[in-house]
Structures are given as C-alpha cells and as structure tokens.
Amino acid sequence: MSPPLLEVHGASKVFRLEDREVPALLDVSFDVREGECLAIVGESGAGKTTVANLILGVYPPTDGTILMHGEPLPARRRREHRRAIQLVQQNPLSTLNPKRTVGASLRLALDVHRIGERRERPEIVATLLEEVGLPGDFARRYPAALSGGQRQRVAVARALACRSELVVLDEPTSSLDVLVQARVLRLLEELKPRRGLTYLFITHDLSVVRNFADRVAVFEKGRLLEIGVTEALFAEPEHPYTRRLISAVPVVSREEELVRDRLAEGGLNA
C-alpha cells in the first residue's frame, strides 16, 4: 500500500450564518494515498463540496487538520500548495475565461507557477494540448468555439500544466454525453500513472465510481459513513445508506439489475 499523500484528521466545518449555525462536515477522517483515485460519493448536502474546498484551501476547517506529505497545510496556502493541488470542475464553460484563448489560459498557469523557461512555454502549451488529445492549433481558439468534451480536456490540461500532485475532480463528466464521458474518463485514467497523479473524485454516479475509483468514501449529511476498496464495497456494502444509493442506480442490462438488487439487499455473498 502506498503512503498517504493527504491526511484529513477530525475535520469539521460549521458555517455561521446570522441567526444559526450550519454544520456541513462533522469530524471526518480519511487519507488519500499516493497514486490512487479516491471517490467521494453522496447526495446534495452530504459534504462532498465542503471536503473539496477544505482540501483546496478555499476556507479552513472549523476543527481538525489536513496534512500533505505529513506536513500540516496552512490556512493561508503558499504558492507551492496551490500548485500541487488542482481542481477540475463540472462545468468547464464557467471555469475557463471566455475572453482568453485556450493557449492563454494554459500559459497563465505556467506563468503564475513559473514553470519552464519563458521561451519554452509556448512549446509546453503545445505538449499539454497533445497530452489531452487536442490538436495544437486549439491554442488559438476561445472556449466558446469548443465542445463540452474539448473544454473539459482543456480544464484537465490546465491542471496538468501546474505539475500538480493531487487533482480534485468535482463531477468532471456529469454534464457530458455518455460517449464523450467515456473518452474523458479514459483520458483521466491514462494520465494518472503517466503523470504520477492522485485523484480525489467527487461524484454521485456510482456506475462510474465502480469502474474508475480504487477506493470509495460514502458521505451523508456531513458524516463519513463508510470507506473501503471499490471491489469490496461493491460486493458487501455495509451501511444501509450505501445500499440505498446502489439500489437507486439506473442500469442498462438484466445482468446489472440482478447484481444491483442483490447489493441493495445486503451483498453478493449474502
């Protein structure tokens, strides 16, 4: 088993509003190991996005600590931390600046994090596009002239540009058509070992998780209910909520339906 890249210890997050307090995350502990893909699954209000924001340093936890390579991550992140942890969001149209060309968006990441020599950077941009399967002349295009799948590839390229270690993938394929989703997922799967990446994959789609994640953490209402190796969790889901989630998955074949219904009742070996 590889060593942990990121450790979350007893993290809680309470949002204080004018008249009340909203607990979004309650005493959550888990780790993300080097080179793995850990899926965070749950429904709205589960705390998935709060987990992502804590890790990205959008806001600090109310309680608890987050370690990276065994060192605590400070509330105010240094440039080095911001570089190492990158985010790919659900809707790339809202995360790519519409007035910047694809090339300029990628170049900005290189400039900010001082990656490569100044004159090498155009070439790095071209290599990045190639890595995510886009033609080099896309550098001159604007996001509006790209399809959903192409935009998501650009978002991935930007995360790669920073030579990141951990990529937080927040519903990266939920807004894509199924054929496009399959290609983007495959790209992500290939990039992980090639670039030595670790993924934190936030999603509600259990069918994708089953085939993409190494481990799964199930969240409900700010609590971590269950965490385990994907194969094991999908053979013997322990928590009733996990079973309920699995029972709600729409499937496309009779074979899947049988497996799903057996999982919903307790497990394949039950």
Binding site: E43, R183, R186, S207, F212, F234, I246, A248, R254, E255
Partner: protein, 292 residues
C-alpha cells in the same frame, strides 16, 4: 383500429439563419398508443427537445423555424389548428414536466395559487375551496400527505424532490391524454430521482396517460418506458420495445451508446476508441413494437 394519442410522420425542422438554412430534424416518425410510455433517447443536439416543442406547438410560434410533416394528436392534425386552439390543448390535453422543477414553478406565487391556476385551465369557474380539495387529492397521489403546508409554501421553501412531485401532480391534475417529460429528475439526487420516476410510472399507469419521455440517460429510459426511439443527429436510428432494444441493440449508434455506459457490475471503463464513427446505417426496427 385504435387512434394513437400521438402520431408524428416525417417531421422535418429547419432554421433559416442569415447565412444558410440548417435542417435539424430530417424526417422523424414516431407514434404513441393510449396509455403507452415511449422514450426518445439521444445525446445533446440530437433533436429530442425540439421534437417535444413541436408537439406542444411552441416552435410553430418561432418565425425562423420551418416545419413540415404531420403531427396528429388524438386524431387532430396540429397543423390545421389555429394558434389559439393549440394553446387550448396545452395544460389540458397535453402537459409537460421539465428538468428543473424549482425554476419551472413561479417563484413569487404560493403553490396553492399556482395549482388553482392549473385547474382553472379545464374548469374556469372552479372556486378556491374546490380547487384546494382537488389539488390535495392529487398531492396525496404523489405521496405528499401534508398538502396544506405545501399550498402555503413558495417553491424555494420546498426541496427539489418535493417541487418535482408538485409539478407531476399539476401535470396530471387535468387528466391529460399525453404527458411530455423532458429529462425529469436529472437535476435531482439519485435516490430522489429513482423515487420520482417510480411514482410517475405508477401514476401514469393508474390514469392511463400516454407519455413521451425525453432523456439522454439509457438506464432511466430502461426503468421507465415500454418502447424506445433512439435519435441521432435528427434521425431515428432504432426503435422497438425497451426489453428488445436493450438486450439486442441493432444499430451501430445504439451499440456504441450501450458500450459507453459504465456498468455497476464492473469490468473497467468502456473502451470506445477516439474517433467518432460513422453511424449513417439505416433505421433498425424491432418487431412487435407499437403499430403502424
């Protein structure tokens, strides 16, 4: 012979723009029998939603739209009806449920007021008391057992799942012949979506309502529909009973779609290659599907 609830034949739709004429539907034929649940499944841009908008008579109002072919609803050719007559069908004989329930309800009126308005479409003189009673009955059918609280609420005070159920209750309140559901529940959580679909399925079965179910999600279609039409770039490429199409997809495009869906049984990510393939193969029809 039974009159189909909806019979679309060789429907074409194009838009005239400054530069050119763009055709987006290239001759679609589709029919729905009374009480039948039919799905139209395809990717974004395939022409699913515009088909629904033509059935509702909404695209006809757009001056740049060029529509040909026939849409016959309960034996009446929509083309021969005036805009006013078509307007009278909407919300009464044919109703619609949209993807995002919270934004399809009016944010500044309470649910009770909106429900009253819905019921007035068929019964203009219905008073508030009678409307409440009728609406409460409908809400009970969608498993909302505290109708009074819901009537007093604004949409933002209810959860997405609750709003969706209210929408379904409203859509079925006037006993329509056809319910058009455009990606219902896509905006909801998975468990809520599953419950909503189950509920909707039971209700339309009970009321014997025909449904045109529009979706990009193959799994959801399989759970809900009796028969399915697969649409690709403005053409129907395959049609038949759900069981048969899902067990033995015949068209290259349907097969590619099926292959691209990750399975809950595992087996790794689907490998579908990088190049978009040629799906211009002719229509595949599974037998015993509907009637001509």
């Amino acid at each position: 012979m039974i009159v189909p609830t909806l019979d679309i034949r060789d429907l074409r739709l194009g838009f005239r723009t400054y530069e050119a004429y763009v055709e987006v539907l290239h001759g679609i034929s589709l029919n729905i029998a009374p009480g039948e649940r039919v799905a139209l499944v395809g990717e974004s841009g395939s022409g699913k939603s515009v088909t629904a908008r033509i059935v509702l008579g909404l695209l006809q109002l757009l001056r740049s739209a060029r529509i040909s072919g026939s849409v016959v609803f309960e034996g009446r050719d929509l083309d021969r009806l005036s805009a006013r007559e078509r307007q009278r069908l909407r919300g009464t004989r044919m109703t619609m449920v949209f993807q995002d329930p919270t934004s399809s309800l009016n944010p500044v009126y309470r649910i009770g007021t909106q429900f009253h308005e819905v019921l007035r479409r068929t019964e203009p003189r219905i008073n508030e008391h009678a409307a409440r009673e009728r609406a409460a009955q409908m809400l009970l059918e969608v498993s909302i057992d505290d109708p009074d609280r819901v009537f007093e609420s604004y949409p933002f005070q209810l959860s997405g799942g609750m709003n969706q159920r209210v929408m379904i209750a409203m859509a079925l309140a006037n006993e329509p012949a056809l319910l058009i559901a455009d990606e219902p529940g896509t905006a909801l959580d998975v468990t809520v979506q599953a419950q909503t679909l189950k509920l909707m399925r039971e209700l339309v079965e009970h009321h014997h309502t025909s449904v045109l179910f529009i979706s990009h999600n193959l799994g959801v279609v399989r759970e809900f529909a009796d028969r399915v039409y697969v649409i690709y770039k403005g053409r129907i490429v395959e049609q038949g009973p759900c069981a048969s199409v899902f067990e033995r997809p015949g068209h290259a495009y349907t097969r590619a779609l099926m292959a691209a869906v990750p399975r809950i049984t595992g087996g790794g990510l689907p490998d579908i290659g990088d190049e978009p393939r040629d799906f211009s193969q002719p229509l595949v029809v599974h037998e015993s599907g509907g009637y001509a």
